[in-house]
């Protein structure tokens, strides 16, 4: 059986600048794969490239979802195939209510043409449940998305969408930054549930704090656009103790 998500020897240019210089990585169903690395090492670039952000040019390598290449697909095609990205810094969308976006997104997944009329009447209930799960009230469904949200609220709302849209691959780009300690616990428990329900979670973070609450199955460390180290949960602990400098350079070649 093919892997859920496979990144092969990925080289990526952004604005003419080489940002990823050969990244290999595998994500299986029911697995949490943590991607760590210092600021500017290319973690978000990896996430955007998997999601197909325009301007992130794949100059070499491939990205496979369940064995099929998705590098030539539009971002929305990847999304509909089950790739979800929780943004590190989601942009504000003035006038667009969270509920309108969720209705449109769910309708698209059901193949319904209209964006504004909820094809599934249960969608509102599911959204409210997801909001409550991340510690927000139902009122957030009617808020303009990411307009005037606090850093922690943004993260919670991103995670809530992952719950409602039911993707296969959940990429969370620093879902812990800006969160208070209760928020970190909630998000960690959701990530564990996502793993339970068979999803693959690509968890981007540069602190091990979150990883105390949710043990990753694998850890990949990026430095300067390259895989600098790979390992299990113990690698995250080592980074926490010694910093990135100490672990860089111990990547065993070949094993993703």
């Amino acid at each position: 059986m093919p892997e859920l998500l496979e990144v092969r020897s990925l080289h990526v240019d952004v604005e003419g600048k080489r940002v990823l210089r050969g990244v290999d990585l595998t994500l299986r169903q029911g697995e949490i794969h943590a991607v760590m690395g210092p600021n500017g090492s290319g973690k978000s670039t990896l996430a955007y490239t998997i999601a197909g952000r325009p301007g992130y040019e794949v100059v070499e390598g491939d990205i496979l979802l369940e064995g099929e290449s998705i590098v030539d697909l539009e971002p929305e095609e990847r999304a509909l195939k089950g790739v979800f990205l929780g943004f590190q810094e989601p942009p504000p969308l003035p006038g667009v209510r969270l509920s309108s976006l969720v209705v449109a997104a769910v309708n698209k997944r059901m193949g319904v043409e209209s964006l504004s009329r909820a094809a599934d009447p249960k969608v509102f209930g599911r959204l409210v449940a997801a909001l409550q799960r991340v510690g927000l009230t139902a009122e957030y469904a009617q808020r303009e998305l990411h307009v005037g949200f606090s850093g922690g609220e943004k993260k919670r709302v991103e995670v809530a969408q992952a719950l409602v849209l039911d993707p296969k691959v959940v990429i969370l780009d620093e879902p812990d930054s800006g969160l208070d300690i209760d928020g970190v616990r909630v998000v960690a428990s959701i990530i564990r549930d996502l793993r339970e329900s068979g999803k693959g979670v690509l968890l981007i973070t540069h602190y091990a704090r979150l990883l105390q609450y949710v043990k990753p199955d694998r850890v990949t460390v990026l430095v300067d656009g390259r895989v600098a180290a790979r390992g299990g949960p113990e690698l995250a602990e080592e980074i926490e103790r010694k910093g990135y400098g100490a672990v860089a350079g111990q990547a065993p070649a070949g094993t993703a």
């Binding site: 999601a51 197909g52 952000r53 325009p54 301007g55 539009e74 971002p75 929305e76 999304a79 509909l80 979800f84 990205l85 943004f87 989601p90 942009p91 969308l93 003035p94 006038g95 667009v96 209510r97 309108s100 976006l101 449109a104 997104a105 698209k108 997944r109 209209s114 964006l115 504004s116 009329r117 909820a118 303009e144 969408q161 849209l165």
Partner: protein, 472 residues
């Protein structure tokens, strides 16, 4: 939600209507605008003499007044080649849809007008070419003393009432196209709401132009007596045809003491229509006039909803949403003239320019000396979706009263690549993402429209933007 689905057309009106189907005219006056042409129209309409004389005075003004130098696109119009009066083959306004000739009836059926009427409206007046072809008012309106009539009938039956207001709120001397309108007016609706009568179900007038090289000059007059309430909706549409047609309508509102008039326009002419819309209201003490205009269709539109705040404590708002998509022009701007103390006004103009569209806002806030503590707020928001499209704002304030407060805000926005990608990441195409963001831009004014009409507007925008970058 359910009802809206069955009620509303799923496509743009001009697409629903398709190409114009030939309809016969019973009478048609074409060509040069002259005294004899106007006398002929007046004779056909069996008008009282005062109206005939009013038309002729307006004709003289039309001949004297210069073409406004700010008007772009009028050089395309050759008034001498237009039909200034086209009477369809309907003798008198029908009271049931079955009485209408099939080709005419089908237009309105395709637009879902009869269903809207049944579900929502207290009264409906429908015009085809130059005449009202259908007119029906629900019984409770008549019982409460509300008069709603085709304009011509009102002129004949209530001359004293009509005479007090007709062409007085908006005098023909104002500009050349106002004069032209008064000289040639035909069709439209008259509404009078008696003292203290508050009608919350809207009434509607719907205008359709069914052919090329036609000029339509409908005249709408709404008189709200003291303490009354009325919501008047005007809609318009046209099928596609070769060449162009010309619309030069007029709306006059008189809001007596403490009355409230809400006036909503959903303009969705086909791309063949050059549209002038002359709209003005007068608000007496404590009265309120609220204009809402969704300006979607047409080739070029000029519309400037205006309120004269004549009485102390009167207020007015004007919300205009204008979409210029493709090589089309929307030239609009609200005007608020404060003549009395404690008057309030609010102007909101939202424009969306895309695919080479041009939006122009030309507004005016005038506060006369003595209009103490008057307050006016103007908000212009332009959304420009690509480098080929533009929006210009020319707000103009004329404040002669030191205690007045006039505030103005103008913003120009674009859609960010990060916003589009975010929405695409949730599964929407770039076009769908754009339409969601455009809807978001309009979100705060949508609540001012009746639900059914807001749904129409949403759907229209959804469809318009689903095709961005497509052919045509």
């Amino acid at each position: 939600m359910e009802s809206a689905r069955s009620l509303l057309p799923e496509r743009l009106p001009e697409e629903i209507l398709g190409y114009a189907s030939p309809t016969r005219a019973k009478l048609e006056f074409r060509g040069r605008i002259s005294r004899s042409l106007i006398e002929e129209i007046s004779r056909v309409k069996k008008e009282p003499d005062w109206m005939r004389r009013l038309r002729l005075r307006a004709l003289e003004l039309f001949e004297k007044l210069p073409t406004p130098n700010w008007v772009i696109g009028v050089d395309e119009i050759d008034l001498d080649e237009l039909s200034h009066y086209v009477k369809p083959e309907v003798d008198a306004p029908a009271e049931s849809w079955d009485e209408l000739p099939r080709e005419i009836r089908e237009y309105y059926e395709k637009l879902g007008i009869p269903e809207l009427e049944a579900k929502l409206l207290a009264g409906l007046s429908v015009q085809f070419e130059s005449e009202t072809v259908y007119h029906k008012v629900k019984e409770f309106l008549e019982k409460r003393g509300v008069i709603m009539l085709p304009m011509e009938e009102a002129v004949r039956r209530y001359p004293d009432l009509v005479k007090q207001y007709f062409a007085r709120v908006f005098p023909p001397s104002d500009h050349k196209f106002a004069a032209l309108h008064v000289a040639l007016w035909s069709g439209g609706a008259f509404v009078y709401v008696p003292k203290g009568v508050r009608i919350y179900e809207p009434v509607e007038a719907f205008f359709l132009i069914g052919r090329s090289l036609e000029a339509q000059f409908e005249h709408t007059l709404v008189v709200a007596d003291e303490g009354s309430y009325i919501h008047f909706i005007e809609g318009c549409s046209a099928p596609m045809f070769k060449g162009y047609s010309f619309h030069d309508g007029m709306v006059e509102i008189y809001a007596h003491r403490n009355s409230v008039v809400k006036f909503t326009t959903i303009q969705n002419w086909s791309r063949n229509v050059i549209n002038f819309n002359n709209k003005r209201g007068i608000a007496e003490e404590g009265a309120r006039i609220d204009w809402i205009e969704g300006s979607i269709g047409s080739k070029i539109t000029y519309t400037y909803p205006s309120t004269v705040l004549r009485g102390r404590g009167s207020s007015s708002s004007s919300i205009v949403v204008q979409l210029a998509k493709g090589p089309y022009i929307k030239d609009s701007g609200s005007k608020m003239i404060h003549l009395a103390p404690d008057t309030r006004s609010r102007i909101v103009n939202k424009s969306i320019s895309v695919d080479g569209g041009v939006n122009i806002y030309r507004g005016l806030v005038r506060i006369a000396k003595g209009a103490r503590r008057a307050r006016a707020h103007v908000e212009c928001q332009s959304l420009i979706l690509d480098d080929r499209s533009v929006a210009y704002t020319y707000p103009h304030n004329q404040v002669d009263e030191p205690t007045a407060q006039v505030t103005h805000e103008a913003t120009t926005g674009r859609i960010g690549e990060d916003q589009l990608f975010y929405l695409q990441q949730r599964g929407l195409t770039e076009q769908e993402a754009t339409s969601l963001l455009v809807m978001g831009f309009l979100e705060d004014v949508m609540g001012d429209l009746p639900f059914e009409y807001a749904a129409v507007l949403r759907r229209v925008i959804e469809i318009e933007f689903a095709r961005l970058g497509g052919v045509g």
